[in-house]
């Protein structure tokens, strides 16, 4: 069933779906509607968020200042090594550069960085203007590589050239280019060694899961790109298999690695108890090592017991609340629906900025009748559906937070801003704790209470 409401723009209708048995698919993967106030960012943003966690790389934004300013340390990713990635380098293009071209400035900029920092890898991002004035990024980067014997990788991320998803792809191509630069591949691979794609270590996730992997006797080569480095990424080719979490950003990379290096992959999700346990089981199987499989079972049993106990209190306090979800990718939306189910909470609205067809199918499958499903939505629609469905809680990005609060409902920061891990068993408890904190805050009693005029 399609939604029919006056507050919607006609061209948005097909991007909204109310789940009913036999309802059609949702329209997705389109350019945003002009003037609709999409919550999406741009191609450059997509590329930057995927590559930024590579810790020892220098990230140069070739463009005017804004692009670098608004994405400085955007990911908040944690590093066990270099902190190069936490700086935002911009060629700060001015009017004269737009007229005369910015190639010389970029070449000099790279030279300065090599002199001062000597990084192994430099990523050079193109921005809107650079795409229009036609600076030859490839040529400048190639020249610099030859001159300085380091990797200087152009990232074709002009903001207008598609959506955030195209930025992910540009980033994946840049990572492939980095991996390719080292031709060495081990002859015999360790069956237990693997990479973890689509995880960005925003709050130590790679480290939490790294402990699990150790407990199982598995060998993580690197996260991609959380807490990764040039050396680790070059080593990644030697993995026996890959696991992919955030599919929207990284499935393309997994596929490329399969084609180029013959590395198989499987999808995982380490959000929520059920997904974490299932993913650990699948992971163990991928190692084709019976000991690992056995260890996994024992580990899962122990962890579930501990976690269930810790969750019990939160479950009692959160059960029955209604949830609205609006996040970037489909993977996260799916895992959130499941996690709320675990807490006994019902998802009444769910949407993503850049979800894919098959992800929306999965979302539909997981949702109850009447659940509103949204693609690339906007504040007007969010407001309407949150009110209409009576949601008690919104999960979303920073831009959506004030809207939730203005509507008098709770909010979960499942975004770059968070400073606590939400993955694995520990994360499941953190998640429940945050839900409880916000949903059951005493402030909502005051919100519901009358004002000064009431007796």
């Amino acid at each position: 069933m399609k939604a029919e409401k006056s507050y919607m723009l006609d061209e948005r209708k097909d991007h909204i779906l109310i789940k009913k048995s036999g309802s059609d698919g949702i329209k997705c993967d389109q350019d945003s509607v002009s003037g609709a106030v999409s919550q999406r960012a741009c191609v450059y943003c997509g590329a930057r968020v995927v590559l930024n966690p590579i810790t020892d790389a220098v990230h140069i934004v070739h463009g005017p200042i804004g692009c670098a300013s608004y994405t400085w340390d955007i990911r908040g990713s944690l590093s066990s090594g270099s902190e190069n990635f936490r700086n935002s380098f911009s060629t700060d293009l001015q009017e004269r550069d737009i007229i005369f071209g910015g190639e010389k400035k970029l070449a000099s900029a790279i030279e300065e960085i090599v002199e001062k920092i000597k990084p192994q890898t430099i990523f050079v991002y193109s921005t809107c203007v650079v795409g229009v004035i036609g600076d030859d990024l490839e040529a400048v980067c190639k020249e610099a590589e030859k001159k300085f014997a380091i990797k200087v990788i152009p990232v074709q991320s002009s903001g207008f050239a598609g959506s955030k998803k195209d930025g992910y792809k540009a980033a994946c191509n840049a990572i492939i280019s980095l991996m390719d630069s080292d031709s060495q591949m081990d002859d015999i691979k360790d069956k237990r060694s693997f990479n973890y794609l689509g995880e960005f270590n925003l709050a130590g996730e790679i480290w939490i899961l790294g402990r699990y992997f150790n407990a199982l006797g598995l060998k993580l080569i690197t996260g991609m790109t959380g807490d990764s480095s040039t050396d680790k990424l070059k080593e990644a080719k030697n993995a026996s298999f890959n696991i992919v979490q955030c599919a929207g950003s990284s499935i393309y990379l997994a596929e490329q690695m399969k084609v180029k290096y013959g590395i198989d992959y499987d999808r995982v999700s380490f959000f929520g108890i059920d997904d974490t346990s299932e993913s650990l089981r699948n992971l163990a199987k991928l190692s084709k090592d019976e000991r690992v499989v056995q260890k996994a079972e024992a580990f899962i049993e122990l962890m579930i017991e501990e976690t269930e106990e810790a969750l019990e209190n939160y479950k009692n306090r959160c059960r029955g609340k209604k949830v609205a979800i609006y996040v970037g990718g489909g993977f996260k939306a799916i895992s959130l629906i499941k996690q709320f189910n675990e807490l006994g909470m019902e998802t009444v609205m769910v949407g993503t900025q850049t979800g894919r067809k098959e992800e929306y199918e999965k979302i539909k499958e997981l949702s109850n009748e009447g659940t509103v499903i949204l693609d690339d939505t906007n504040p007007s629609e969010l407001e309407s559906f949150i009110k209409e469905k009576g949601a008690d809680l919104l999960v979303g990005g920073v831009k959506e937070r004030p809207l939730a609060y203005k509507l008098g409902i709770a909010f979960i920061d499942h975004n770059h801003e968070r400073k606590h891990p939400l993955c694995g068993y520990e994360g499941a408890v953190n998640f429940a704790k945050e839900v409880d904190l916000t949903v059951n805050s005493p402030v909502w009693n005051l919100v519901k209470g009358g004002g000064l005029d009431e007796n």
Binding site: G35, V37, C42, P64, W72, N87, K116, C128, K399
Partner: protein, 455 residues
């Protein structure tokens, strides 16, 4: 003269782009909405930046230009965007801000808007085009340029003379604006205050959420600026071409009082005396009392302040005003830095012991902090990287403040606000002194040798 460490780059920007300034300006106009003509990312970044600072929903539409429009022109998208914004928001004013992309592909937004208005017979909504290329200047210039464009848009052929006073607000918080209005009331004078963000960016919680926040400068107020008695513009360091006050002076002969934000005793004196002069009234009793109270407070804290060695950074105006506050209280402004181009900053601060820098980045500021070792930092949240590394306390003030709450209700102007601001600085210095002084003195003077030292 100290310039940036990197010649060809801006590393960790201490400035943002023109459309950001433009957005801040339009957010203070009553019943207005913004449509950014460019790729989707610009609007989203700016919304995110403003939402975390003000903790308010920030709706900004984008014309979402993609590859096709970049090649063939974006007029269709712009018109479509205008139509959708009107449908979704029903605003009285739409600010159309250009971006790097729109400017580089040569969009004639004035013409497109005219065509749109004629074709759809649009009435009851003013569509104001403002040219804000991201490479043109920083958000500081973008802000005043946009205010000026709004004033120009509404400037009448023959202005009606009136007794009002124009206030061009600059780096003021919503709380500061409310204070300006209070001071106006004490004088019994009406202000045309632009942009009035006192309610729009510091909203209240109400049962009914309104997508366009209440409040803002009215069109009528803007129209009456041309006939006002005088203009007070809190933009001491601004180039004339961006100045709304200069426009009103040159076109209508409205007397212009250019001054710094009323921060500090002398800074506030300048404003209060200007009001007395323009209105021909004596300074209200309440303000005398507030001034005396501030002076009393300054005496109370002068010795503690004398130990302050401050790094002051951010937008030119708030940096200037804060530096004045520090100097008049004996706090040495060791480093004064702004990311915008503000050559005149050096002219105003001819201090032998201060390093004054404009057009600078945080990479350079950080290296100077290491060299000159201030013991307190005063500026926006982007200083948190230095704070994290150098462990020097950071007083959050200015824009953006992402990692503290309450920036929108921080009052730092007038006698009362300045005193609260100074107290926060002084108390931070006191904490520095009090924490660990026992150990420091013990380490320095306790003679473990039993008198050998002076033997």
């Amino acid at each position: 003269m100290k310039t940036k460490n990197y010649m060809n780059m801006n590393v960790n920007p201490c400035k943002m782009c023109m459309p950001m300034g433009g957005s801040l300006a339009f957010k203070g106009i009553e019943n207005s909405m913004i449509l950014m003509h460019g790729s989707q990312g610009c609007a989203t970044y700016i919304r995110r930046h403003m939402a975390t600072h003000y903790n308010e929903p920030i709706d900004i539409a984008s014309s979402s230009l993609s590859e096709n429009q970049t090649v063939h022109g974006g007029s269709k998208n712009l018109k479509h965007g205008l139509k959708n914004v009107i449908k979704l928001y029903n605003p009285k004013v739409i600010g159309v801000l250009t971006t790097c992309l729109a400017e580089t592909i040569g969009e004639d937004i004035k013409r497109v808007i005219e065509e749109f208005k004629n074709k759809h017979s649009i009435t009851g909504v003013d569509i104001i085009p403002v040219s804000t290329p991201g490479y043109g200047a920083s958000h500081y210039e973008g802000f005043f340029h946009t205010v000026r464009s709004i004033v120009e848009y509404y400037s009448p052929e023959t202005p009606e003379k009136n007794d009002k006073i124009n206030i061009v607000a600059g780096d003021l918080t919503p709380a500061d604006i409310r204070e300006i209005k209070r001071i106006g009331k004490l004088y019994g004078v009406d202000f045309n205050l632009i942009p009035d963000i006192s309610e729009t960016l510091d909203g209240s919680f109400k049962e009914d959420y309104s997508k366009i926040p209440k409040g803002g400068t009215t069109i009528q107020e803007i129209r009456s600026m041309a006939g006002a008695k005088a203009t007070i513009e809190f933009a001491l360091l601004l180039e004339e071409k961006y100045s709304p006050g200069i426009f009103l002076k040159e076109k209508y002969g409205v007397e212009l009082y250019k001054m710094s934000m009323p921060v500090g005793l002398e800074g506030t004196d300048t404003f209060i005396k200007a009001l007395a002069k323009i209105t021909g009234r004596s300074v209200p009793k309440d303000l005398h009392a507030e001034r005396e109270r501030m002076l009393d407070g300054m005496i109370d804290s002068h010795k503690y302040n004398g130990e302050g060695r401050a790094l002051i950074f951010g937008n030119p105006e708030i940096t200037y005003a804060t530096t004045k506050l520090c100097s008049e209280n004996g706090i040495t402004p060791v480093i004064v830095a702004t990311g915008a181009k503000a050559k005149t900053l050096k002219k105003y601060f001819d201090y032998p012991n201060s390093l004054i820098m404009d057009d600078v980045d945080f990479e350079t500021i950080h290296s100077e902090v290491k060299r000159l070792k201030p013991n307190i930092m005063i500026g926006n949240s982007d200083g948190k990287f230095i704070w994290e590394k150098e462990n020097i306390p950071l007083i959050r003030v200015g824009f953006p403040v992402h990692d503290h709450i309450g920036a929108q209700r921080k009052l730092i102007i007038g006698y009362t606000g300045s005193m609260t601001y100074l107290d926060e600085i002084t108390n931070t210095l006191l904490d520095l002194k009090h924490s660990g002084y026992r150990q420091r003195i013990y380490d320095e003077f306790y003679d473990k040798s039993g008198g050998e030292k002076y033997a």
